[in-house]
């Protein structure tokens, strides 16, 4: 029998898109604690979810796109507030993502982009005020952030399909500056370890996970 509570070390994830699907209350989101102090952008469809995650993991999610006033009202940060903030871990609602669009010299760059509960985000982005300024930023973050993590209980086929398409677009050099430059697709393929991590056969998608990697990630 599987252990219920997961303890995933997200920090060990390599470049690429990683989907974690597990039932509710299995500590998927709680594992974000492993990213304390990292450059993280958490994207959600609900402010309540953001607030809860920030309260649970203040070291990982250090600021949201708004802050609470003493009277219980909200003050929303401007683009400049976000650009000048010292916080490394950010949490933002999809509908406020446009605040992360900025000139190149002011742009906040993240190593990890995390989409919590994509099923909600997919519904929110299509059913409530679709806006290109948010959508373009959303896509840009998913395509150009080195490590993208999706956390959810369920991934209907159309969401996986879109993630697949984003994967195709991620085959370009990344603008994120790090020690090792983002390698084009054919170069990545030479690295067997990386290849295994990034590409999975169709049949493998819902099969037992790779043992070595599972151990590495803390899966049981």
């Amino acid at each position: 029998m599987n252990k219920r509570h997961l303890n995933i070390d997200f920090k060990k994830l390599q470049k690429g898109q990683h989907i974690f699907t597990a039932p509710q209350s299995c500590n998927k989101s709680g594992s974000l604690e492993s990213l304390a102090g990292e450059d993280v952008l958490l994207i959600c469809a609900r402010n309540s979810l953001l607030a809860q995650l920030k309260d649970r993991m203040p070291q990982t999610i250090q600021m949201l796109h708004y802050e609470m006033n003493l009277d219980g009202s909200k003050s929303y940060f401007s683009k400049d507030d976000i650009a000048n903030s010292r916080a490394t871990g950010h949490g933002c609602n999809y509908s406020s993502l446009y605040k992360y669009s900025n000139f190149a010299d002011k742009e906040r760059k993240f190593r990890f982009a995390i989409v919590d509960e994509p099923i909600l985000l997919w519904a929110h982005s299509t059913g409530y005020k679709p806006s290109w300024k948010n959508e373009s930023e959303y896509l840009a973050r998913l395509i150009h952030t080195p490590v993208v993590i999706y956390l959810g209980a369920d991934f209907p086929p159309h969401i996986l399909e879109e993630i697949e398409e984003i994967g195709e677009m991620r085959g370009e050099p990344c603008i994120y500056k790090e020690n090792e430059p983002y390698a084009p697709e054919f170069e990545i393929a030479k690295d067997k370890r990386y290849y295994q991590d990034l590409y999975i056969d169709d049949d493998y998608s819902y099969a037992e996970p790779d043992e070595d990697l599972d151990e590495l990630l803390g899966w049981r």
Binding site: Q17, H18, Q24, L49, E162, G167, L217
Partner: protein, 531 residues
């Protein structure tokens, strides 16, 4: 085919200790709660209710629960989007297992990401408040597992044979190849999206269009502006419809995948209670619902979705058709009628062709025959009525006093007592028909002829049937009296042989410019007492 992502799946039977009971009404849910919380003084139980209704819905439910012996000493807490930030500390304490009240009620704001594990003995997931907004099984499961350790979950969800015929439930045709979408396909998708999403956004935004498409001034083609959202919208929308169409079966299958201990179908849930326990539950609409009905009748709440949702909740509980979110004055009138069962019985008797009908039944039948059929309604103008044999027989002289007393004694029809104003006879006739399950509406001169349209219409209408009118006028010429087109109309409408005559459009319109009684039929609502 290679995947460009890593999919890590973790299986865990999160519902292995949970039983899920499907309920289809508030009455059944409350009966189950009443039974479960009976005699829990020694070991008080805690309840979590998550609902897709509004704050008022939750407050009404709290009032109803408070009236029950089992809940009168329980402490309640309500969390909605309005107070969730103020209650942040309380919510954070849930994750630590700290709770200082017995019943937590919440809107869907707590439906995701909030940990309530191990806090409650029972969870009620109420997704019955808005027939237009049926949830997907994934969303329902999120609510069901907020307290993933809760042993019993009651899911209140009506059974729909199919999704309501509303734009939000219409599928959008997908292009054959998303990489090569033709101009025509873009236009079709665009039009469909605007139809589906415009009403939804109208209340919130001045610019209600989605702006997903625009004309390219260079190519002069109608082009998609936001390709990724359009594609996602179409796919998400169609998937959602597929999923929601079989929401109960899908949720059950989902629960079984998560190892649910036992799933009770509706019949099995009902079998847990006996008839007496169900009958004990008396749901009376709260006072605010009555007040809102009145406001609604005045048109004040025409666009208040929350209020309509509340009304629908009550209507749903009374088993009245709630497919239409926009309740008409007619539906509200029927709902508000205290004697509707008697009215329906009289209606049945009226049309059962019994050999010896009562005088009031006879009068009602004659009034209905007198009304001109206008499709969904009958129209009886005051002028025609006053010239009819029916009026002379039942309303002239002392006759009315006798029938008025008869209606008072038989049906409790008190007003109007006397025929004082011009339209009182018509008004009384309408009230009489109401007692036979009809929906009458009296239209006065100010309503039927506000801009003196009748005068302009007279000549035009007269031309439509000039041959018949002239022939009749010639035959009925009287010295010193001018014969008008109206006289011919009232004659035709009152004559038993000729009343089926089909008038042309302008004449029909002209007739409606006179003060009249509109008579519509109500549908039956006997099921209101049946769970």
């Amino acid at each position: 085919m290679k995947r460009r992502y890593r999919l890590n799946t973790h299986h865990y039977p999160i519902l292995e200790d949970t039983e899920i009971l499907h309920s289809n009404s508030k009455k059944l849910t409350i009966a189950l709660l009443k039974k479960s919380f009976r005699n829990d003084e020694q070991s008080p139980k805690r309840l979590f209710i998550i609902s897709d209704g509004s704050l008022e819905t939750l407050e009404a439910l709290r009032t109803q629960l408070k009236e029950l012996e089992e809940f009168k000493n329980k402490s309640f807490k309500i969390i909605t989007s309005d107070n969730q930030e103020r209650e942040r500390e309380t919510i954070n304490n849930f994750a630590k297992g700290i709770i200082d009240f017995d019943v937590l009620m919440s809107t869907s704001v707590l439906s995701i990401g909030i940990r309530l594990n191990g806090l409650f003995d029972m969870t009620v997931v109420d997704t019955s408040n808005n027939p237009e907004r049926i949830w997907t099984d994934n969303e329902v499961m999120q609510m069901m597992t907020r307290d993933a350790d809760c042993p019993i979950v009651i899911w209140q969800q009506p059974r729909y044979e199919k999704l309501p015929n509303l734009p939000i439930n219409w599928k959008i045709p997908e292009p054959a190849d998303w990489k090569n979408v033709s101009q025509q396909e873009w236009e079709n998708i665009s039009k469909k999206i605007e139809i589906i999403y415009k009403p939804k956004r109208k209340l919130k935004e001045k610019n209600s269009f989605t702006n997903l498409f625009e004309r390219n001034p260079i190519t002069n083609l109608y082009e998609p502006k936001q390709y990724s959202i359009i594609k996602r919208t179409v796919k998400q929308h169609n998937w959602s419809i597929e999923n929601r169409t079989h929401i109960i079966a899908n949720t059950k299958a989902h629960a079984e995948r998560l190892g649910v201990k036992k799933w009770y179908d509706l019949e099995e849930t009902r079998a847990l209670l006996d008839e007496r326990e169900l009958r004990e539950i008396k749901l009376t609409p709260p006072k605010y619902i009555q007040e809102e009905l009145n406001k609604k009748l005045l048109g004040k709440l025409e666009h208040d979705a929350d209020s309509l949702a509340k009304l629908n909740e009550i209507l749903e509980d009374l088993r009245i058709d709630t497919k239409s979110q926009h309740l008409t004055a007619k539906q509200l009138s029927q709902w508000d009628s205290k004697g509707y069962i008697d009215n329906e019985c009289r209606h049945k008797e009226l049309h059962s062709a019994i050999s010896n009908p009562s005088e009031l039944n006879q009068l009602a039948l004659e009034l209905l025959q007198l009304g001109k059929d206008y499709g969904k309604m009958k129209i009886l103008t005051d002028a025609q009525f006053k010239q009819s044999e029916v009026f002379k027989e039942y309303f002239d002289g002392d006759n009315f006093a006798r029938f008025q007393r008869l209606a008072q004694d038989s049906f409790g029809l008190y007003e109007p007592k006397k025929l004082q104003t011009q339209l009182d006879a018509l008004r009384w006739s309408g009230e009489l028909l109401r007692k036979f399950n009809y929906y009458p509406q009296l239209k006065t001169e100010a309503q039927t002829n506000p801009n003196s349209e009748r005068k302009n219409l007279y000549q035009q209408a007269k031309k439509e049937h000039s041959a018949q009118f002239n022939k009749w006028a010639k035959a009925n010429r009287t010295e010193g009296k001018q014969i008008r087109y109206d006289d011919w109309l009232w004659f035709m409408l009152n004559d038993k042989e000729l009343r089926e005559f089909k008038f042309k459009p302008l004449t029909r319109k002209y007739i409606q410019t006179f003060p009249h009684l509109e008579i519509q039929e109500h549908t039956r609502r006997f099921n209101a007492h049946v769970v």
